[in-house]
């Protein structure tokens, strides 16, 4: 089986991830911060270590500024709902995933906020000066930006945009769903106020894990309130991180796996991971361009993208291509709109969508070559559409 659906969730996971999760269930099992017995202490240490490893990966000075969530969608909802207030104005881009657009549109529909959407070009590139044009005229509370599009793979110049935002007293929330673990992120160098990430994509952890980093000095309100194992005499939510945003029992087994995933990435090095993924991406783009009938989307310059590639083959719908690839070639990928209708409108592929390949660190050059041959066969009409 060839797995090119790493933008949905990464597969396979490093063995260490599975071992860490197994080890937790066999030998630890306790809850964090709720009791003082040995098993509870081990669980608390495990969660602490995962937080520290993530802080190391993103250059976060104080790991308590990371709150764990169940995925990046929850992280984005927490950041958006916890920070924005009635009357606030925000800027976002036409490349956002629905995990940003839906919470924003809800706040807009209920009359709380005003949204300015910056149109990306057909390659998915945004012009930083477009942000400044709005910031000059409007008091913008926050900019919400997709670090890399889950449709085109296009990278946004986050560091440049955050510096512009800060010049005008605004804040920046970065959606790192497609970059955390596979592209260098430095919250200090990139001046990131809030970073939303998921654990199960390029961080190589299990589903059900994610987090939100919030810069020191910035306060947001929690989505939920409840038991934290701290300040238990009070009926008021603690105001300190991470307890402020982490009510209820944590996904300790998931965080055991996430910690092992992040450790694996730190051991390998993000730059090595990036280099190898981009070598595969470059090979695919270079060779796919030569196949008649294939249209590729997103930037051709690999410096401006991650390993997410969208394409179409004339004469087929994206779901037909994905179906053929699955049935005839045992290849997993994702067709359709990828929960990002606005991004597909931007590149002109709405409503049919595209076929998306997302190469991961465990993919091989031979797999790319096999798939290129398959695409050539499909585009030449050599493969009959399998019957449903």
């Amino acid at each position: 089986m060839i797995y090119f659906d790493n933008a949905a969730t990464s597969f396979p996971k490093p063995k260490a991830v599975i071992e860490a999760m197994e080890n937790y269930f066999f030998h630890m099992g306790g809850s964090t911060g709720r009791s003082g017995h040995k098993m509870a202490i081990k669980a608390s240490e495990l969660v602490f270590n995962t937080r520290e490893l993530l802080a190391q990966l993103f250059n976060i000075k104080d790991s308590s500024r990371i709150a764990f969530t169940k995925n990046v969608t929850e992280s984005l909802n927490l950041a958006i709902n916890g920070f924005l207030e009635k009357g606030d104005k925000v800027i976002t881009t036409s490349l956002e995933h629905n995990s940003v657009m839906r919470p924003l549109r809800y706040l807009e529909q209920t009359g709380k906020i005003k949204i300015f959407v910056i149109q990306a070009n057909q390659e998915g590139l945004v012009d930083p000066s477009a942000f400044e044009d709005i910031l000059k005229k409007e008091k913008i509370k926050m900019i919400i930006i997709n670090h890399a599009s889950n449709v085109t793979g296009t990278l946004a110049p986050v560091g440049t945009i955050s510096k512009i935002a800060h010049r005008y007293g605004s804040h920046i929330l970065v959606d790192a769903a497609q970059t955390a673990g596979s592209y260098p992120i430095n919250v200090i160098a990139d001046s990131i106020d809030m970073l939303a990430f998921t654990g199960h994509k390029s961080l190589l952890g299990p589903q059900g894990t994610g987090g939100l980093y919030i810069r020191e000095g910035m306060e947001i309100a929690p989505l939920i309130r409840g038991g934290t194992g701290s300040s238990s005499e009070k009926e008021i939510q603690p105001d300190f991180m991470p307890d402020l945003l982490e009510s209820g029992t944590l996904n300790v087994i998931g965080l055991a796996g996430l910690g092992a995933g992040v450790k694996y990435i730190l051991d390998q090095g993000v730059s090595k991971i990036r280099k190898e993924e981009m070598e595969l991406t470059e090979l695919f783009i270079r060779e796919a361009k030569k196949i008649e009938g294939i249209k590729l989307y997103g930037p051709t310059d690999t410096n401006n993208r991650v390993s997410v590639v969208s394409f179409n083959i004339s004469g087929y719908t994206p779901s037909e291509i994905a179906y053929i690839l699955d049935k005839e070639f045992d290849l997993a990928c994702r067709p359709g709109l990828h929960c990002a209708p606005s991004a597909h409108k931007t590149i002109g592929t709405f409503p049919q969508g595209t076929v998306r390949f997302a190469f991961g660190y465990f993919n091989k050059v031979e797999e790319i070559r096999t798939v290129l041959k398959a695409l050539a066969q499909i585009s030449q009409g050599e493969i009959e559409l399998p019957r449903h």
Partner: protein, 72 residues
Amino acid sequence: MPAEVVIVFKSTHDVIKAKSELEKACIAHELIPTPKEISSECGMSLRVEKTVLNKVLEILRSKGVRYRDDLL
């Protein structure tokens, strides 16, 4: 038996961070359930010998660990 002192922390994150820093500094310590007569701030506390208290607090401050100074 030397006199001991219990340090109380704001959150589990801090008590585990303190434990980790004291391990690195090779300072003897024990994690204990926070005695109810002291506080119900966080479920766990750290017990150290009084003779090393100043050194411990210096480490905790330099590493930004949030402990309850008022309960010492």
